[in-house]
Amino acid sequence: MQISLHQLVPIPLKEKVLQQTSGIWNQAVTFTPGQWVKIKAPSGTGKTTLIHYLYNTRYDYTGDIHIDQKPWPAYNPTELANIRQSQVSVIFQDLRLFDQLTALENIELKNIMQGQAYYSREKIEDMAAQLQVTHILQQSAATLSYGERQRIAIIRALVQPFSWLMMDEPFSHLDENNTRRAAKLIAEECTARKAGFILTDLDDDTHFPYTAHYQL
């Protein structure tokens, strides 16, 4: 699945964006399948906004985003849901877990959304063990710390088929050790699917062997 941006400009940041030079905003950019993309962005340059545009949950932009030669608005709600179930996964900066559910249920929700389970319970527990969150799986998501929630959100994003993974500061609340573990898990899962990802963060890092770097 190819993602290409054409003169994409967020309306709320329009003046600011047009004053500065950006690698993404108001440019023609194409992300080819399997690319591991790092987008470095200082605060307030619209990094979360970009992720939301790419995941098609915000539409307040000019220019357009083509997914496989077709702009986002051309997809109907059912097609969009299909893409989100099998082609594009996401880790939001604000995580977005359901407080009514336990940590495990939050993961399961995504795991069985397509009708049958994508990963077995053992595989999920294995992933939880890697990120050291096994002990909180049965806890209500409302009671978890931010770092725990972040790791649950990461696992949730990985229990579905995808060819692109969007990540918005996915390690912001993890210590170095857990960041390393999470990055390893994400890299394994992306490799297994031959999937690409787009990661936005404030600083440079070496968590992944990126194939493309952009400055927002």
Partner: protein, 397 residues
């Protein structure tokens, strides 16, 4: 392992506002029951009136004439039926067959068998034989016959026996006595006269007139009033159902009158119809409100869980998945309500059936076809409202 829908159940709490939820279902149940009752009462009433088992006689006879008013009392022509009126009447669905009552166009004088120095002026009428309820071998007349069979109305003998005879100290007489008495009948006018021996051969409950055979009437009218066409001022119709409101309103609209007693069924039926309509109307109004509450209820749930539903959609839940989940919250419930009300109406109908059976009246022991159709239609309506409300709020981007 948990299913997707059991997780949805934890996220979208469809049970909010339990009290309202149950009120809506109870309202729906009552509405359906009222509608079913209205339909059932209507169908039972029709069965009581029209089912062959419930009929003593397969048809009824009505003598119809124009209402005599002060304005037209001197105008025989106006009080007779015109040809177009007759044609129109004949075309009506409630008229099964139809005959003229032919009046005599000559004068009749009757004398008692022995000379008692009195006589009485009379008249005759004739109707086709098929309309007479007295079947008798003697009921025939051919040209040259001296004997003239006569049918009297039952009421006439009663009037004599219980009114006249008692007040005049005369003996009361039985039907047999009357039938045994030969009556001297003289028919006459300015052209001549002729004498016959009249014999009462029967008493009619159906037609309150003095009847002679049609063959005699034709012959006598021709002979004594050769140029005159007999006017059709009274006619007799055979009808399946004298209580048919269409018949009654037809007669009223055209200013015709008949034996009102036979039509009293119709008034009763009109009252029943009004009651049925009122019940049905309330049922429909209640149904309307129940449907309204339902769609508002669905909106309420969706509005209360807006955030959760948005996040579910963001995570990739298909609108069809959400819709199916929400439908599952409602459909089984109103199907259940429908089944319960159908069971209740079946019970009521069976009770009515056994109750009426004791009176030798027959209605079907199960609810009729229209009740089942109404149930299906109501459930379909609910499904459509349900589905379109959910669609409206879920598929909206």
């Amino acid at each position: 392992m948990q299913t997707f829908y059991s997780l949805l159940k934890k996220i979208i709490r469809a049970g909010i506002g339990r009290a309202r939820y149950w009120m809506a279902y109870i309202g729906l149940g009552v509405a359906m029951l009222l509608i079913f009752i209205a339909i059932q009462v209507h169908s039972n009433f029709n069965q009581l009136l029209h089912k062959p088992e419930n009929k003593n006689e397969s048809a009824d006879f009505l003598v119809i004439n124009k209402t005599i008013t002060n304005a037209n009392s001197r105008n025989v022509e106006k009080n007779a039926f015109t040809q177009s009126e007759l044609d129109d009447l004949q075309k009506q669905p409630f008229v099964e067959s139809f005959g003229y009552m032919t009046p005599s166009q000559f004068k009749v004088q009757a004398y008692p068998p022995v000379d008692l120095q009195f006589s009485t002026a009379m008249f005759f009428e004739a109707v086709p034989d098929t309309f007479i309820d007295v079947k008798n071998d003697e009921w025939k007349w051919a040209v040259g016959d001296r004997a003239l069979p006569i049918v009297l109305p039952n009421s006439m003998l009663n009037m004599y026996n219980f009114g006249f005879a008692l007040s005049q100290n005369l003996p009361q007489i039985s039907q047999e006595t009357v039938s045994a008495l030969p009556i001297r009948i003289v028919i006459y006018n300015d052209f001549g006269q002729e004498e016959f021996v009249g014999r009462i051969v029967g008493f009619s409950d159906r037609i309150s007139s003095i009847l002679v055979p049609q063959s005699f009437m034709n012959w006598a009218n021709k002979k004594y009033a050769p140029g005159l066409q007999p006017t059709a001022s009274r006619i007799i119709i055979k009808t399946k159902d004298p209580g048919d409101p269409k018949l009654v309103s037809y007669l009223e609209d055209h200013g015709f009158s008949t034996d009102n007693d036979k039509l009293k069924d119709s008034r009763l039926r009109m009252i029943v119809q009004i009651i049925v309509s009122v019940i049905g109307f309330f049922g429909l109004v209640l149904l309307l409100f129940a449907v309204l509450v339902f769609s508002m209820f669905i909106q309420l749930i969706i509005a209360a869980c807006k955030k959760e539903i948005n996040l579910l959609v963001t995570l990739g839940t298909k609108p069809s998945q959400l819709k199916r989940y929400l439908m599952r919250q409602f459909v089984p419930m109103y199907v259940l309500i429908g089944v319960i009300t159908l069971v209740v109406i079946s019970g009521i109908q069976y009770f009515v059936y056994t109750l009426l059976l004791k009176q030798h009246l027959f209605v079907s022991p199960l609810p009729g076809l229209y009740t089942w159709l109404a149930a299906a239609a109501i459930l379909l309506l609910l499904y459509i409202v349900n589905s379109s409300t959910i669609r409206k709020y879920i598929y909206k981007p």
